[in-house]
């Protein structure tokens, strides 16, 4: 299945000016279930990292019998190396609003919250202006839907959906137990469809061009295209929309500096792909899934330092409530430091890998569960760099 080549796409940032009006009119004329069917048919999966099928999420939310339902747009974008949602909100905010409106219409929600990371507050003035006009516009078009903006609490964990709800509710941003899932009991305990910024823009574009044309792109498991934030040792750092399904090698050929030894796919919580696996690794759900961050490392980089930075980040950004994550992150960090200093035998790395596995199995939320991704992939592939 290495048939896909790197192909640049222009859907997300396409700006034809009439998109909002045509899409909203089209959706308004459709039955709720037909909109949801179109989304399911498109194969769109969430672009926030977890990759849950968006149409199904909306279907579940619609199926709940509740007077109050909510749409939340997750613009917390805290994953190190990711900056695509900022760009989207800066350049095509109306398409995000349209996506939220489509979601609200399909599931029967009257209020949508756009939860935007505190660091992006500089965007607020512009967003609010556009939003005020938009809220009036959708009322005129007969949508019983209003969008409000909520500013984030400034913690990485507040991007996790249930912690985000807690934060909007004015509480400490700590992830909740699941189940119940957000579609059943989300914001204020009500059924909630929460989606990433980019996911919602794709919803808009799918309603514009139809599921069929979206499906033409990508692979069986990873339909469509995706926005990537490219950073690290690359001459072409920036934001690119690419078709899903290419190999890492393809990607590196275009974006590498000729000396790439590893690519960290999916940010700090993602997986590190070493050079020897470039050719076989597909970027998508059948290979390495990604929320959009692609960080390239060339041979001058110490992978020990890369891992240490990530672990420091997690040790600090863990909400701290659950044992495996709060203490596990500290142990992984101090563990590699002790091995580096020669205070622990290199075989201690294997104990740490088992610990990372326990964190993956038993942590309460995705943060603690995903620390094993960078840890094991870096330790396995760059063991010498960690020890010596």
């Amino acid at each position: 299945m290495k048939d896909k080549k790197l192909t640049k796409v222009d859907l997300i940032f396409e700006n034809d000016g009439t998109c909002a009006t045509t899409v909203l009119d089209k959706v308004r004329a459709m039955a709720q279930d037909d909109v949801i069917m179109e989304m399911i048919d498109s194969g769109l999966k969430g672009r926030g990292g977890a990759g849950f099928p968006t149409g199904l999420k909306w279907k579940f939310t619609k199926a709940e019998n509740s007077f109050d339902k909510y749409i939340v747009c997750n613009a917390d974008e805290g994953e190190p190396g990711t900056f695509k949602d900022r760009e989207i909100l800066d350049t095509v905010p109306e398409k995000v609003f349209v996506g939220m409106t489509i979601a609200g219409y399909s599931v029967g929600a009257k209020i949508g919250y756009l939860y935007i990371r505190a660091e992006y507050n500089f965007l607020l003035k512009k967003l609010n202006q556009k939003l005020d006009a938009f809220n009036v516009k959708i009322k005129d078009k007969g949508f019983d839907f209003t969008i409000e903006i909520r500013s984030g609490a400034g913690a990485y964990i507040c991007g996790e959906e249930s912690a985000l709800f807690e934060s909007i509710e004015g509480k400490r941003g700590e992830p909740r137990n699941k189940p119940p899932y957000p579609t059943v009991a989300g914001l204020f305990g009500k059924p909630t469809a929460i989606n990433n910024v980019e996911t919602l823009v794709y919803a808009t574009m799918i309603m514009k061009y139809g599921a069929a044309s979206f499906k033409l792109m990508g692979t069986q498991d990873s339909r469509g295209s995706k926005v990537f934030s490219v950073s690290g040792d690359t001459p072409n750092a920036g934001i690119y929309e690419l078709e899903l399904g290419m190999t890492v090698e393809d990607f590196v050929n275009d974006f590498g500096d000729g000396d790439t030894k590893a690519v960290q796919v999916g940010g700090a919580s993602g997986i590190c792909v070493p050079r020897k696996k470039f050719a076989d690794m597909i970027i998508g759900y059948e290979g390495v899934p990604t929320g959009g961050s692609m960080m390239l490392f060339n041979s001058t980089r110490s992978m020990y330092n890369v891992l240490k930075d990530y672990l420091e980040f997690f040790a600090e950004e863990s909400c701290g409530q659950c044992t495996p994550c709060r203490i596990g992150c500290q142990q992984l960090l101090q563990g590699i430091e002790a091995v580096k200093r020669g205070e622990k035998h290199p075989s201690y790395l294997d104990s740490l890998k088992k610990l990372a596995e326990t964190m993956k199995l038993s942590a309460k939320c995705g943060l603690g569960q995903s620390v094993a991704n960078p840890f094991s992939s870096i330790v396995d592939n760059f063991r010498e760099e960690i020890i010596y």
Binding site: Q321, I327, Q331, K354, S362
Partner: protein, 597 residues
Amino acid sequence: MAKYEVNLKINNIPVTVEEGSTILDAAKKLNFRVPTLCQHPDLCVAGNCRVCVVEQKGAKALPAACATPVSEGMEIFTNSQKVRTARTHIIELLLSEHNSECTSCYKNGKCELQALANEYRVNENLFIKLVDKNTYTIDNFSPAIIKDDSKCIRCQRCVRTCASMQFVSALAVSHKGDKQKISTFFDKSMNDVVCTNCGQCVNRCPTGALVEKNYIDQVWDAVNNPKIHVVVQTAPSVRIGLGEDLGLEPGNRVTGKMVSALKRIGFDSVLDTDFSADLTIMEEGTELLTRLKKALVDKDETVALPMTTSCSPGWIKFIEHKYPSLLPNVSTCKSPQQMFGALAKTFYAQKKGLKVENMISVSIMPCTAKKYEADRPEMRSSGFKDVDYVLTTRELAMMIRQAGICFEDLPNEKYDSIMGESSGAAVIFGATGGVMEAALRTAYEIVTGREVPFANLDIVPVRGFEGIKEAKVLIKDVLPEWGFLEGAELSCAIAHGLANANKLMAAVVSGEVNYHFIEIMACPGGCLGGGGQPIPTSPEIRAKRMEAIYEEDANMAIRKSHENPEITAIYAEFLGKPNGHKSHELLHTHYVKRKGY
């Protein structure tokens, strides 16, 4: 609404439970114990310690048994190798962050973390010790509670207790990641914040991170000093709780054995707080009737009604912080502990020919807030502290063990005299609604000359665990001097647990409700669920304690406070009349307005 049944298998054994049950409930039903730390029967689910993880067939991750609802066809394994590895890791992680000095820890032998470490035979050195790397503080400024962060496992039981049961939120989670901790407002001492010293968090802390400040050594010093006369008083609900800490099942009344143990320990005189509970009824009942008269007859609009009880020091601290404007509504009566202490160093000292400076007064209480109360500057009626040392039920149990006393085999002994006599009305002070019932038994009879119109004197409507209870008593055919109360309906309310107290007081303030008399106990179930009672606690355990209290009452020869002969005697000989001059000097107090944070 009928609940659906769910069928699942645990360790290959089928089980059927109600929809909404957790995996933990289902396992319990099959007698599989899954270890827990953050879970507590009194609290909402947290799911943060993760020691309860189990394996679910077909699922990648290990769900937390306490936080995961059952679903049809689920197959769970509570002790598979995958589970054991994860669980051992989790316990090891907790220990790596923990200041494990068990031999010098107050919770040694009674600690849930220690028990788990023992059960899983963990290798404590698998991971790097983080204790020295983090900076921890010990807060021992409060006279009641010590908070030692180096022993904290961040289970948040205390936080949930303080917020949901007590509506105080003196403790909260602060910071994140490796710096996450349980903090007070601006990390001040527990002594300088809204904490009521109720000790409910202490009752639920699984480790030695929150414990009562103990005064065991000071009390040993006193009883072993021949020059000092040491009197000890025991609160009503100590006698129904103490056994639990000495190997007996909940619900055992051990009054006689407790008295016997105290004598063997070496107290010079073993007396009963129940005596001063009876006295409280006389003083508080009279105060209520006086307020009612002022309001109804003299039309004095400055009289504060409803009047609330004042025997729960956790409640006093709560209202001082949260409703300072309602302080005039609080009865001016000292709590029974303080009344007793004040009389011990005056009346009792005179009768026994003792020099007050050679006396130490000790109390055994189900309560940690009593430690704070005894330290209040107002509580020094004789010029000396009314009560020098307050020990919890747990501390007494520890002294009994230290003394090498085989508690179960002790004979039953009687309290010493004077101030050792009491009534059933005093015993029920230990249960929510008890003070109300005792007060009604006496007040009704004073006003009408007849017993309260309830079979066996059991005022059932005020009993039980309902968070807020109400009772109305119609007063008819009164004695001539109480004519102004003829036909009046006395309207009463009772709340236990400060969250309920807060609800009730909010309704009072808003004018939604109208009462004459309100009983408030800071702890769930009243003193029987006090912060100084044996650990563990649960609704079932408290229900057994409550049964025991009403049994004790039913078995008493005297059931009404005003019929306690020592009460009649002390008024005749010493106090004069209730609310009289001497009473005011010794038995009443005033309160302090405090900040709301």
